[in-house]
């Protein structure tokens, strides 16, 4: 070997494989404004569609008159429910087993509901047309408060369900009831409460909010009448699912539907489901024979396409005097709005809410969820969340703090006392999950040491004393949160969408010169898949990440995948990528053995190729094997070097983390100051630490927004009062706190590379940390639970109610 021979470290570094802080390759185009989004697409003759929307939350539609609209220059068509009925598309199925109006059919059920679709030669003409459509409404009484939806005399919202005593998820007990979902052992849990030494009970609400990605929902539909083919470019987090849905409801053969998700500007769950805009644009294209673009504006996005949360959780915990939890009982009132348009796996109407036992060893638990209809926008999507895990984490993390307060125990100490112990994994929870791995005590203790938890508590005691002496008007709160997530949906034994198992997929093709392309069934919306997927392959097969092109989002070329949401990409698609790469490597080993004239078993892997055991100079690099795959494979072997893997995960993965928020609140104004936020995440094997850090920063910023002010709020008449970024709290860099990140690594035992997923953890764990900090700050003045969001005026109101100004 001479001096020019690269060292092992240099060869390793050249790969930029797993564990490397590789810079995001997609940012080269994003930072230069060269991304390719749906609204960048301009096809010849393309038309534009836009909606006439309802000003009322509940009203009968007496008539729709399009006469004047059709006179507006450029307006070509006005589509209504009557038009859609001719193609049997006035209603569409939702992913939750409900049906939803595409356009108002006889009545409207929420403000800004889609009433008519105006198609015009440009966007201006379409909007001019909208203003000329005359709709006659007869207002009806509204149901806004979820707690009044099931009153005996509550107005009937869903007339289409009249007489239907059961829905997709079992019996309905009221005309505004969607489903009841229960899990756990009720008798055992009731017994635990009957003999409990200490109990808490609190109604904990997680208010309605919205994923609000910067790019709204949009599509371009183009129907080719000659070929009978429909092409759809859209902001789809799950393009293959959209293709199948279109095939099922539009009766177009699936091979003649081309769904393409180009670059997407954030999804956060908002872009999983199907919306009326997609159907209307497709129908408009079929009718006119021209491409039709539909682009939602911000107000439409916030008020019509899929909200998140709106879970009202009556939470009870039973415990011993010493603080050992003995039972958990939760009843949830789930407000789904006008239609149940959750995007949960089919059998899970309340998502994975049964992760609500959290990180704690509850011997028994019982959960009942009642879904209800109200006159609000439909949905209940998983906003940066693996299907109601955010709600569950908030419920249990607030609950544990409330219990600690009741016991007079420190909330961190209470958690340490009740954690599932490392030796209990795999752990079977009282509500049916098998937690794959975890080391909660280590993570919690690392967090407490890193921030000097004991010191912070001392400082808080001093601050409280000073407040009581009248020396300061600031109070101080510590918000501890220790969450366990359940992500990576999911194993075919319990997860499907429309009957399709929730596997994911990867196809790798290596080219003769040692570069290759990987096509994956997931779809990045900013997560950085083009960067991280190549890193997995680089480590697995020893080809530099820079030489692997990652492609997603085109249903004609990508293998069938279930898309990206619920932190499922790394647990499921990431596993498929590793498995496909291992198939490549296995074939490569056979080729190398043939070329090196040894037995396969005599070869060992060495960073970027194979070498003969005991003969380190006798090697064949993966790059050379790629070349050989196209000219000199062993006799009987097919040439080429390609592999496909469809991965059905054996279990979910269970990322966890320990967060703490240190906050001061000025009681005179309610203004809060986030002094410190420390987030320790354990997502198992870390593929790209820089991207993980970015994900954590983004998710924490969303958590901060949700806990401290972001909400979709309705007035008593059903008008949305937070329908723009003026009032829907979207923090800028100025308001966003500084984030400290940290980690432990507990690899998943069943995942090929031990990775667990991280994208949603900070949103899941962050919200309770902020809320617990506010609650902790006020607790010494006598409060037990304060509902979110904790914006300035509500903090002031709390202070006032606690007698601070007396």
């Amino acid at each position: 070997m001479n001096d020019m021979t690269p060292t092992r470290e240099q060869r390793e570094a050249k790969l930029e494989g797993m564990g490397c802080k590789r810079k995001r390759v997609e940012d080269i185009r994003f930072t230069q404004g060269k991304g390719n989004y749906v609204d960048d697409l301009k096809l010849p003759g393309m038309l534009h569609g836009d909606f006439v929307r309802s000003p009322h939350a509940h009203a009968r539609v007496k008539s729709i008159n399009s006469e004047e609209a059709l006179k507006v220059p450029g307006v070509l068509a006005v589509i209504t429910a009557e038009t859609l009925k001719t193609v049997n598309l006035a209603w569409m199925p939702t992913l939750a087993g409900d049906v939803q109006m595409v356009l108002a059919d006889g009545k409207v059920l929420f403000q800004n509901q889609e009433v008519a679709f105006v198609v015009a030669t440009d966007r201006y003409a379409a909007d001019d047309g909208i203003n000329k459509v005359v709709v006659e409404y007869e207002p009806l009484p509204v149901v806004i408060d979820p707690f009044k939806a099931m009153d005996a005399d509550a107005p009937v919202l869903r007339e289409d369900l009249a007489g239907k005593t059961s829905g997709a998820h079992g019996p309905r007990k009221h005309h505004n009831h969607v489903f009841e979902w229960t899990i756990g052992d009720k008798d055992l849990t009731d017994a635990a409460f009957n003999k409990a030494e200490v109990k808490i009970k609190e109604m904990i609400s997680y208010h309605r909010t919205h994923p609000s990605p910067l790019e709204t929902c949009q599509c371009v539909c183009s129907f080719d009448k000659i070929r009978g083919e429909l092409s759809i470019w859209g902001t789809f987090q799950a393009p293959h699912v959209i293709r199948t849905v279109v095939a099922l409801i539009a009766k177009i053969p699936e091979h003649k539907i081309h769904v393409i998700s180009p670059d997407i500007g954030g999804g956060f769950g908002n872009k999983v489901g199907a919306y009326p805009g997609y159907i209307c644009a497709a129908v408009a294209s079929i009718v006119t024979g021209k491409p039709v673009k539909w682009v939602e504006d911000r107000i439409e996005n916030l008020t019509a396409t899929s909200f998140a949360r709106d879970y009202h959780m009556t939470t009870e915990i039973a415990a011993t005097k010493e603080g050992k939890v003995t039972g958990l009982r939760v009843h949830v009132l789930a407000d789904h709005g006008a239609f149940d348009a959750c995007a949960d796996p089919s059998k899970w109407p309340a998502g994975f809410f049964n992760i609500v036992t959290g990180s704690y060893d509850f011997p028994t638990a019982h959960v009942a969820v009642d879904g209800i209809y109200t006159n609000k926008a439909p949905g209940g999507v998983a906003y940066r969340c693996s299907f109601r895990v955010t709600e569950a984490a908030y419920c249990i993390e607030r609950g544990m703090d409330i219990l600690a307060q009741k016991l007079g125990m420190d909330p961190a100490e209470l958690r340490l006392k009740n954690f599932i112990k490392p030796e209990q994994f795999p752990y079977h929870s009282a509500l049916g999950w098998e937690y794959d791995s975890g080391d909660y005590h280590t993570a919690m203790k690392k967090m407490m040491e890193s921030v000097d938890y004991a010191g912070l508590r001392k400082e808080q005691a001093a601050q409280r004393a000073a407040f009581k002496r009248g020396e300061t008007r600031e109070i101080m709160g510590l918000g501890v949160s220790f969450f366990t997530e359940i992500v990576g949906a999911g194993p075919s034994k319990n997860c499907d969408i429309l009957g399709i198992a929730m596997f994911d997929s990867c196809e790798i093709r290596m080219h003769p010169t040692g570069a290759g392309i990987a096509r994956v069934g997931s779809k990045s919306q900013g997560q950085g898949h083009e960067t991280t997927w190549a890193q997995i392959i680089a480590t697995e097969i020893g080809i530099p990440a820079d030489d692997i092109m990652v492609e997603e989002g085109n249903t004609d070329t990508a293998p069938y995948g279930l898309g990206t949401y619920g932190s499922r990409s790394t647990p499921v698609a990431g596993a498929a990528i590793a498995m496909a790469a291992r198939k490549i490597k296995a074939k490569a080993q056979m080729i190398a053995a043939y070329k090196l004239e040894v037995h396969e078993g005599d070869l060992e892997w060495d960073i970027d190729g194979f070498r003969v055991k005991g003969l380190p100079e006798k090697t064949m690099s993966m790059k050379d094997i790629c070349w050989a795959a196209y000219n000199s494979v062993p006799p009987g072997m097919e040439p080429g070097l390609e592999a496909v893997s469809y991965y059905d995960p054996p279990n979910m993965t269970y990322p966890f983390g320990a967060y703490i928020c240190v906050m001061n609140i000025d009681v005179d104004t309610g203004v809060y100051r986030i002094r410190r936020f420390y987030a320790l995440d354990d997502c198992g094997t870390r593929i790209n630490p820089m991207i993980i850090e970015g994900q954590v920063h983004g998710g924490l910023t969303e958590a901060f927004a949700i806990a401290m002010g972001q909400e979709i709020r309705y007035d008593d008449e059903g008008n949305v009062v937070t329908g723009s970024f003026m009032d829907f709290f979207m923090p800028t860099a100025v308001e966003t706190p500084h984030w400290e990140t940290d980690f432990t690594v507990t690899p998943s035992p069943h995942h090929p590379i031990g990775a667990k997923g991280v994208g949603e953890s900070p949103n899941v764990g962050g919200v309770p940390a902020f809320s617990n900090a506010v609650n902790d700050a006020f607790s010494f003045l006598g409060s037990t639970h304060i509902q979110m969001p904790h914006d300035y005026w509500r903090n002031w109101r709390t202070a006032k109610e606690l007698g601070v100004f007396a």
Partner: protein, 287 residues
């Protein structure tokens, strides 16, 4: 979020602008920075048939001293106010306030004239104009006239501007070199209007307040001059009891609307706190 059709005009002189606005009548709106008007047009809450863009008129921009006054052209942007040494040294409260208006992108485009002439109770500059005793120069079909800022505001979006009139400049009398000032603004985030804000300009003599003016933003349908509150502090050393009295006097004239920033009671409460804090900070700055 798509505006209706309109015609666009770009006159080159004040006379032409006035002529156009008079001729086109109610269906025409002058366009300055556009940060209030254009969003309203995109929501079709405003549907003017004609926009008369004032950007083509030379002479509507700039900051100059005129004897004992500082004259600011109506089309001077917030960014230009921030970049001006004259403002920084002679009217530092304008500098402090401009920094609290939205973000740099908005400040590059938004103008002082648009801010004060629109009559939006949420705008920050009108309260300052009251406190500083500013005079607005208006040009209209009948010629020019001067009007005190204190006479200008009549209601939310209603001002003393007559049809065809435009604001061309703002004159602000010099403030004593040793004055103290503060603009206290409580807002939910960058870009938001004030939940409550108070502007204070005062002078001190022998440890006591000699002169004082207090202005209030977004606590009524027009900006307010809190005269009773200001009188309550003159001759005092701003002791706790006086501050409480002044805040109460200011709160007494507030009538904000309830909105997502909070209920009426909260907005008045924090309005009083903004007055207290602005007084304390201004006094600390006075020499």
């Amino acid at each position: 979020m798509i505006p209706g059709p309109f015609s666009y005009h770009r006159p080159a002189s004040v006379a032409d602008a006035v002529k156009l606005l008079s001729k086109l009548g109610d269906e025409a709106r002058p366009l300055a920075g556009g940060h209030s008007l254009v969003p309203m047009m995109k929501l079709r809450l405003a549907t003017p048939e004609h926009l008369v863009d004032l950007h083509g008129i030379a002479g509507l921009k700039g900051i100059r001293r005129d004897g004992n006054k500082i004259v600011i052209g109506a089309m001077t942007t917030q960014h230009e106010l921030l970049a001006s040494d004259v403002i920084k040294t002679s009217l530092p409260i304008l500098h402090e306030t401009a920094l609290l208006i939205a973000d740099p992108q908005v400040r590059y485009r938004g103008t002082l004239g648009g801010n004060v002439a629109n009559g939006d109770p949420g705008n920050d500059m009108p309260a300052l104009m009251l406190v500083l005793g500013a005079v607005y120069r208006l040009e209209g079909p009948g010629g020019g006239r001067d009007i005190a800022a204190s006479e200008f505001y009549q209601g939310a979006y209603f001002t003393a501007l007559e049809p065809g009139e435009i604001l061309t400049s703002i004159s602000i009398p010099a403030v004593a070199a040793a004055h103290g000032y503060a603009y206290e603004k409580l807002k939910r985030k960058v870009g938001d209007y004030a939940t409550a804000a108070a502007a204070v300009v005062l002078t001190m003599a022998g440890g006591k307040v000699a002169t004082c003016a207090i202005g209030l933003t977004n606590l009524h349908e027009t900006p307010l001059l809190a005269t009773d509150a200001a009188n309550a502090v003159i001759g005092t050393s701003l002791d706790a009891a006086t501050l409480k009295k002044a805040a109460a006097a200011a709160v007494a004239i507030m009538s904000p609307a309830a909105d997502a920033r909070g209920p009426v009671e909260y907005r008045k409460h924090v309005g009083g706190i903004m007055v207290t804090r602005a007084l304390q900070r201004a006094a600390a700055r006075a020499s």
